[in-house]
């Protein structure tokens, strides 16, 4: 069930620009909008600006220009309000290793303002993300990367925020775990979540995204709806853009002041 409530974007980048203190232009007037119930995949090489974009939404960085908005709230102006409407799953989720899965969920649920949840609900969510019951009360120090990633997405689900940010969520996952993860994202998208996913994984992006953007040198150099890419080889498209980049535009170099 795809629920596009209205056309108002949940996640929106408006001329989003970030120049670091050393002069490196990491993000250059990036624009995109993600409505409810859609998944926006950002593809690109290392240093393309994908993680910078995520960090600007999370207010871990201040934009030099433009805004990262969540439901119309500029993240750098009202960070707490913006963050309350976003869940985040990072690459290689590393939770508290001395805590059990349930204890980790409990802490992050409380951190996101949900004191009302109980163990039964945590178990349900963990089962939903595919974490077997016998692991629920085990310390995370013994968990595989895939199991930790499941805990990470469970934490995002618990927050029950309208937007979800994913930074390289499938990096390092085995094919089965990657597939399960994408299925889960699909179900969250169907629930009406607006999802921003940065990834290197062209195949997964193709499989699940509604819109695919290719980033390079801090700019979006291609942005198309999945339907537009129907029947086209995304790998070829990506390689063609990347090849064009290497000939014409080197990776963001320090700008002289």
């Amino acid at each position: 069930m795809k629920t596009s409530h209205n056309n108002r974007p949940v996640l929106e980048a408006v001329d989003l620009t970030k120049r670091y203190e050393d002069g490196v232009l990491a993000l250059d007037h990036v624009n995109f909008a993600i409505p409810a119930g859609e998944l926006f995949a950002m593809l690109g090489g290392n240093g393309a600006g994908k993680t910078t974009t995520v960090n600007l939404f999370l207010n871990l960085l201040e934009p030099t220009e433009g805004e990262a908005r969540v439901n119309g709230v500029a993240a750098h102006l009202e960070p707490l309000k913006a963050k309350s409407q976003m869940a985040f799953v990072s690459e290689n989720v590393m939770l508290y290793p001395n805590f059990t899965a349930i204890q980790n969920l409990d802490f992050f649920a409380k951190l996101s303002g949900h004191d009302e949840y109980g163990t039964r609900y945590y178990r349900d969510v963990l089962l939903r993300v595919g974490l077997a019951e016998e692991s629920h009360n085990k310390r995370l120090k013994g968990f595989s990367k895939g199991m930790r990633q499941k805990c990470g997405i469970a934490i995002a689900i618990l927050k029950n925020a309208p937007a979800i940010l994913l930074d390289e969520p499938t990096a390092g996952l085995d094919p089965k775990a990657g597939h399960d993860f994408i299925q889960l994202l699909d179900s969250l998208r169907r629930e009406g979540k607006a999802i921003l996913m940065s990834t290197h994984d062209i195949f997964r992006a193709r499989e699940v995204a509604d819109t695919i953007a290719i980033m390079d040198c801090g700019r979006i150099i291609m942005q198309k709806r999945a339907a537009e890419l129907q029947g086209q080889d995304l790998v070829q498209i990506y390689m063609r853009y990347m090849a064009g980049r290497t000939e014409s535009s080197p990776i963001a170099a320090p700008v002289e002041s």
């Binding site: 993680t51 960090n55 999370l58 871990l60 960085l61 960070p79 707490l80 309000k81 963050k83 309350s84 976003m86 869940a87 985040f88 990072s90 290689n92 989720v93 590393m94 939770l95 508290y96 290793p97 001395n98 805590f99 204890q103 802490f107 992050f108 409380k110 951190l111 996101s112 303002g113 004191d115 990470g152 934490i155 927050k159 940010l165």
Partner: protein, 466 residues
């Protein structure tokens, strides 16, 4: 939200293998320090009682107080001195009281057992000094940068959590968790004292509680410092290295360097130099006395000649003693003032390290600060006056007059009663005086806590979480 972070911090710390191992070692050392202190106190008490009994035993069979060779008083062992030894092992524990003249404490524990001067005793203050600071560093050095390395910081701050709430929860949580666990170990150690037969007065218990609280402030200073350093570094290895250097400099180097610097800045005359000056003055006075003695004319009645001569010698001695006392007091005061100036400078330099404040505050509270020697000598001086008066009453002569008149053939040959000898009632340094003396350093430790707490707060507000 604050509560959730606080609970997480406590649970995370207490559940870590690092905590279990370091706490186990710390607890054993803390309880061990109490056990060793109690054993040593009981031994010191037995030695003290034996020394007092030995001093009285010399009076056995004597029939004249003039026959008493020497009267010695001893520094009674205090239970807290076994826990925070301070200078109690360095200063002399015995003073020979002659009835007049300058008093000197001799027979220090380190003098008797030099091995302890090399390795020192494993006392509670040493444990606080080393173990508390290392415990704090080991459990606090990665408080912020460790969370960044693990990725939990980014995940936590992706929520609507104000940074000040997060760092406050971490700081309060870690201080509470670790302080309570250390208190449990210290509490168990305290319980050992009565079990091992060490009796503490109400005042001693108050002192002990204050010593423990001072230790916790010291621990807090290192813990908040570790959290602060972890909030200005981005790798736990860098934070650990920084704290290790700070620990070496603060705990081991600064106190020693401060003494060297103060020694170079303010010159204090040596004891040898002072002794030479005093001896020279005494020689000069004797020369004057000898001239007067040469002119002594006994009265016609030869039966009283010896008594007359004794009185004459007595009067000469009174004059010599009075002048010596004035001269010695002046020299001592000059040296004392210079020494105080030097000490003050050394302490003030050393106070850049919390370890100095811990040392000064705990020894002041235990009554084993530098003033202990002075206090012991003052107490013995008070006793000397009473003793001198007693001997004069019994013999008719000033004690240590340089002459003894032993009457032979008189009918009274009854043995003297040792119980008549005035007893040395040592009064420890009063509690209020100790507390006043320690207050400044306790305050400094509290300031260290506040400064590093605020520093951690500020550093984290600008911390790059990425």
């Amino acid at each position: 939200m604050f509560r959730a972070i606080l609970e997480k911090e406590i649970r995370d710390l207490l559940g870590s293998t690092k905590f279990v191992l370091t706490f186990a070692v710390s607890a054993v050392l803390i309880i061990g320090a109490f056990a060793i202190g109690a054993t040593r106190h009981n031994l010191n008490l037995r030695q003290y009682e034996a020394s007092v009994a030995e001093n009285l035993r010399q009076l056995d069979g004597l029939t004249d107080w003039n026959q008493m060779e020497q009267n010695r008083v001893f520094l009674p062992p205090q239970p807290l001195a076994a826990l925070v030894s301070g200078v109690s092992n360095d200063i002399g524990r015995t003073i020979t009281v002659t009835g007049r003249g300058e008093l000197t404490a001799t027979d220090s524990r380190y003098g008797e057992d030099p091995i302890y001067a090399v390795f020192r005793f494993l006392d509670l203050k040493f444990i606080f000094h080393i173990v508390f600071s290392l415990f704090a560093i080991l459990l606090g050095f990665d408080a912020v940068c460790g969370e960044k390395e693990r990725g939990t910081l980014r995940l936590a701050l992706a929520n609507a959590v104000p940074r000040h709430t997060f760092i406050a929860g971490k700081l309060v949580g870690s201080v509470a968790a670790l302080a309570v666990s250390l208190l449990i170990a210290v509490g168990a150690g305290c319980l050992l004292l009565p079990v091992m037969g060490v009796s503490l007065s109400g005042g001693d218990w108050i002192r002990l509680v204050l010593i423990v609280l001072t230790g916790l402030l010291y621990f807090g200073a290192f813990l908040t410092m570790s959290v602060f350093v972890s909030a200005v570094t981005h790798r736990s290895s860098s934070s650990f290295m920084a704290m290790l250097v700070i620990w070496i400099v603060g705990v081991l180097i600064v106190p020693r360097v401060s003494v060297l610097l103060a020694g170079r800045a303010i010159d204090v005359p040596s004891v040898d130099h002072m002794s030479a000056q005093k001896a020279s003055y005494r020689e000069q006075l004797w020369k004057e006395s000898r001239e007067l003695m040469a002119n002594f004319q006994p009265k016609a009645n030869t039966a009283c000649a010896a008594t007359d001569f004794g009185r004459f010698m007595d009067s000469l001695m009174d004059v010599r003693e009075a002048r010596t006392q004035i001269y010695t007091a002046r020299l001592n005061e000059e040296r004392y003032n210079r020494q105080q100036e030097q000490q003050k400078l050394a302490f003030n330099i050393a106070r850049v390290s919390p370890s100095t404040s811990l040392t000064l505050a705990t020894s002041a509270l235990a009554g084993t600060f530098l003033t202990l020697k002075e206090h012991f000598v003052d107490e013995a001086s008070g006793y000397q006056d009473a003793y001198g008066q007693f001997i004069k009453e019994k013999t008719g002569l000033n004690p240590a007059a340089g002459i003894k008149v032993i009457k032979i053939g008189e009918s009274n040959q009854e043995p003297i009663d040792p119980d008549e000898l005035p007893r040395f009632g040592y009064r420890p340094i009063p509690l209020d005086q100790s507390v006043a003396s320690a207050a400044g350093d306790v305050g400094i430790l509290a300031i260290f806590n506040l400064l590093f707490f605020a520093g951690g707060f500020l550093a984290f507000s600008r911390y790059d979480v990425r």
